[in-house]
Amino acid sequence: MRLYEFEAKKLFRKYMIPVPESVVISRDSFNELDKVVYPVVIKGQAFLGGRGKAGLVQFAECREEAEAMICSILGKKHGPFVIEKVLLEKKINIEREVYIAALIDRLEHKLLFMASKKGGVDIEAITKDDPGALLKYYFNPGEIMHGFKARTISGDLGFSSDGLGIVAGIILKVYKLFLGFDCKLVEINPLVLSKDGNIYALDAKIDLDEDAMFKHRELKEMGIVARHELGELTQREQIAKAKGIPYVDLDGDIGVFPGGAGFGIAAIDLITLYQGKPANFMDSGGAPTQEKLRAMLGLLVDNPKVKAIFGARFGGISRCDDWARAIVQYVKENKPEKPMIMRMAGNMEEQGRKILEQAKRNFPELFKKIKIYAVDTPIEQVIKETIRVAKTQIDTENPPEADTDCADKE
C-alpha cells in the first residue's frame, strides 16, 4: 500500500531521518503558504513516479509564483490519479545524490537493502545499462542490521569522513523503519548531500503491508488508513470494506457476484474474453453469512453502471441452499429490476434449486429477470448470456452523469 511522499516523510521524521522543512497544501489550506520560505520546491503528491517529466515538480522564487504553480498542479491528472495535495519543501542545493532502499526480495524470500551511487534518476533505467551500479545486501527475515554493515554500505556509496557515519546512521534508520512498520519497501531516491554539507532524504517512497497495519495503530493517528496498493478507495469500495467485502470497482456494466477470490479473478477474464465489461471484482470469502451475501448483491444492484449481474456459486464450504436463500430474501425485500444470470453447482445444489423454484412460483413478477443454471451448463455459456442480456438493456437506466461520485476518479 503506497504512501504519499508527504506521508512517508512523516514516518521518516518519526525515525529521525532528515527531510527538508515542508508544508502540505491542498485546495482548502492555501493559508499554509504563509509558512513557506523561498526558493521552494513544489511537488504534486501522486502514487506514481515520473512526476518531474509530468511537470508536477516545480521551483518557485516567491509567493505569487508558488500560488500560480500550485494552482496549475492541483487537479492535474497523473496516470489515473488526480493530484489533490502538493508538498512545498525548502530548496536544497545538491552536491551529490545517491539511492538507497530496503525491500522484500520475493524471489529469494529475503530482506534486501539496495544502494547506488547513481541517485536521483530512475534506478531501473540505470541498472538496465549498468547492473553493477546497484549494490545489494541481503538479510534474513527479521534479521537486524548491525552498525558495521551500515558503515560498509555507506563506504560502498563513496561516503567518507563525517558523511560516512551520518549516512550509515540514515541507512540504519531506514532499515529499522522498514522492519518496524512491516514495510514492503522504503526507498529514498535521491538521498542528497547538500552544498552546505547536510544530508537529506529528498524523495520518500514507502509501501506498507496492509495486512500488518493492525500492529501499527499510530498509522491511523497519522491519518494513514487502508487504500489500494496504488490509489484511494472509491466510495463504493469504502462501503464494501466497512462490510468486510473485498470489492474493487471496474469500468464496465456487468456486475460480478462470484464465490471466492480466485474465481472472481477468472470471471473478470472470461467476461473480457467474450467482449463484455465487468463492473467490479468481488470476493465472498469462505462461508459468507446471509447478510453478507445480500450486501454483496446490493452493491451491484445499487450501482447505476451495472446493467446485468453474473452470479456463480460453487457449493463447497458455502452451501448452495444458503446462497439461494440469500438471493430470494434480497429480491423479495429490494425488488431489483436488473437481470441476473447465474449458475449454481455443488454442495446442496438440489436444495438450493428447490428454494429458487418455489420463490419463482410464488413471486413470478419479481423473479422474471432471474435465471439460475445448474452444473450441466458450462460457466462460459452463463457468462456469454449475461453479456448478451446486458447489451439489450436500455441506457436510461445508467445515465452517465451519475458516475462521478462513485467510480474511480479517472
Binding site: 503506497r2 502514487f47 522484500i104 520475493r106 524471489l107 524470500h109 529475503k110 530482506l111 534474513n140 527475515p141 527479521g142 522492519l179 512491516d182 514492503k184 503491508d209 496492509e210 495486512d211 500488518a212 493492525f214 500492529k215 489500494h228 496498493e229 496504488l230 490509489g231 473485498p246 474493487v248 471496474l250 462470484p258 464465490g259 471466492g260 477470490a261 480466485g262 474465481f263 472472481g264 479473478i265 477468472a266 473478470i268 477474464d269 472470461l270 467476461i271 473480457t272 474474453l273 465487468p278 471484482f281 468481488m282 470476493d283 469462505g286 462461508a287 460453487f314 457449493g315 463447497g316 464450504i317 453447482a345 455443488g346 454442495n347 452444473v375 458450462p378 460457466i379 462460459e380
Partner: protein, 298 residues
C-alpha cells in the same frame, strides 16, 4: 501413497476451538482424516468433535508422537507464532489455512521452516485433499473424485472448478493442493510439481495460477524437465494494476505479477496453456493421448 497426506497421516488442528476450525474438524473427521488432537492455548482439556484439545503443540505431541502434519487456523496475528510452535515441536508439514498473514511474519516463519526442513503449505491455502483418503483444510469433499490428475492452485474456488471440470470429463484427482492466496507462500509450484512428477499415482498435472508475485514464473523452468504433462491456467489477464483482488497476494505491482508475464514464462518452458476452465479437461486428454503415442514407438 499420495503426496503430502494420505489415509495414514496423523494430523493436528491448531486453533481448533475457532468457529471455522471446529466446523472443518467435523468435515475432516467425516472424510476419514486422522486427527490426533487440537491445540488452543488456555483451552487444554476441552473436546471439539470428540478431538482432545491441548494447550500447546508440545503437549499434544507428547501424547501423539506420530502426528506429522499440523493445520493452522488461528487469526493472522498469531499465525507466525503457531507455525513456529509446530516447527519447534517437530511437525514435518504445516498447512496454513490462516489468510492475510503479515508479510514479514510469514517470511520469518518460512525461513525457520526451511532451516529445519519443514514443509509449509499456505498461508491462505484451502488445504490439501487426496480424494478418498484424507483431507486437511476446508476443501468441500463433494467436489473431488479419486483419479490420476494432480492439481495445484492458489485459490480455493479455482481448485473446486478445476476438479469439477476434470470430474465432468471423467477424470479424477490423485491429490489437489491449494498453495494459498497470500503473497508469501511456504511451498511453491515447483515444490509440488516435483512431488507429482515422482508420484506413481499421478499421470498429469493441472496448475492454476493468478496475478501477483512470481511463483508461477519461478516454477516454469522446472516444467521443462518434467516427463508428465502440465496444463496451466492463468487468471487475471483483465485485472487492473495496483489493486488487490480478494487474495492478499493477488496484486499486480509495477511489472511484477501480470498474467501475461506468467503465461509467457510457462509457455516458453513447455506448459500447455488453457484459456478457459472448460478447455482444461480437453487439453489434459489430448496431452495424455500424445504421451501414449510417443511412448509406443519408443
Amino acid at each position: 501413497m499420495s503426496i503430502v497426506i494420505d489415509n495414514e497421516t496423523k494430523t493436528i488442528v491448531q486453533g481448533i476451538t475457532g468457529k471455522n476450525a471446529s466446523l472443518h474438524t467435523k468435515f475432516m473427521l467425516e472424510y476419514g482424516t486422522k486427527i490426533a488432537g487440537g491445540v488452543t492455548p488456555g483451552k487444554g482439556g476441552q473436546e471439539v468433535e470428540g478431538v482432545r484439545v491441548y494447550d500447546t503443540v508440545h503437549q499434544c505431541l507428547e501424547k501423539h508422537p506420530d502426528a506429522a502434519v499440523s493445520s493452522i487456523w488461528v487469526p493472522p496475528r498469531f499465525a507466525k507464532d503457531a507455525i513456529l510452535e509446530a516447527i519447534d515441536a517437530g511437525i514435518k508439514t504445516v498447512i496454513v489455512i490462516t489468510e492475510c498473514i503479515p508479510i514479514h511474519d510469514m517470511l520469518y516463519a518460512r525461513q525457520k521452516a526451511k532451516e529445519k526442513g519443514v514443509v509449509v503449505i499456505g498461508g491462505n491455502t484451502p488445504g490439501v485433499i487426496s480424494p478418498g483418503k484424507a483431507l486437511v483444510g476446508m476443501l468441500p469433499k463433494i467436489t473431488f473424485k479419486p483419479g490420476r490428475i494432480g492439481t495445484i492452485a492458489r485459490s480455493g474456488a479455482v481448485t473446486y472448478y478445476l476438479a469439477n471440470s476434470l470430474n465432468l470429463a471423467g477424470f479424477g484427482e490423485s491429490t489437489s493442493v491449494g498453495l494459498g492466496g497470500d503473497p508469501i507462500l511456504g511451498a511453491n509450484y515447483e515444490d509440488i510439481l516435483r512431488l507429482f512428477e515422482n508420484d506413481p499415482e499421478t499421470d498429469a498435472v493441472v496448475m492454476a495460477g493468478e496475478i501477483g508475485g512470481v511463483y508461477e514464473e519461478l516454477a516454469a523452468p522446472f516444467i521443462e524437465h518434467m516427463l508428465k504433462p502440465v496444463i496451466a491456467y492463468i487468471t487475471g489477464k483483465a485485472a487492473p494494476q495496483g489493486k488487490r483482488l480478494g487474495h492478499a497476494g493477488a496484486i499486480i505491482e509495477g511489472n511484477m505479477g501480470t498474467a501475461h508475464g506468467k503465461i509467457e514464462a510457462l509457455q516458453k518452458h513447455g506448459a500447455i496453456l488453457a484459456q478457459t476452465l472448460s478447455e482444461i479437461p480437453i487439453l489434459v486428454k489430448r496431452a495424455l493421448e500424445d504421451r501414449k503415442r510417443q511412448e509406443k514407438p519408443g
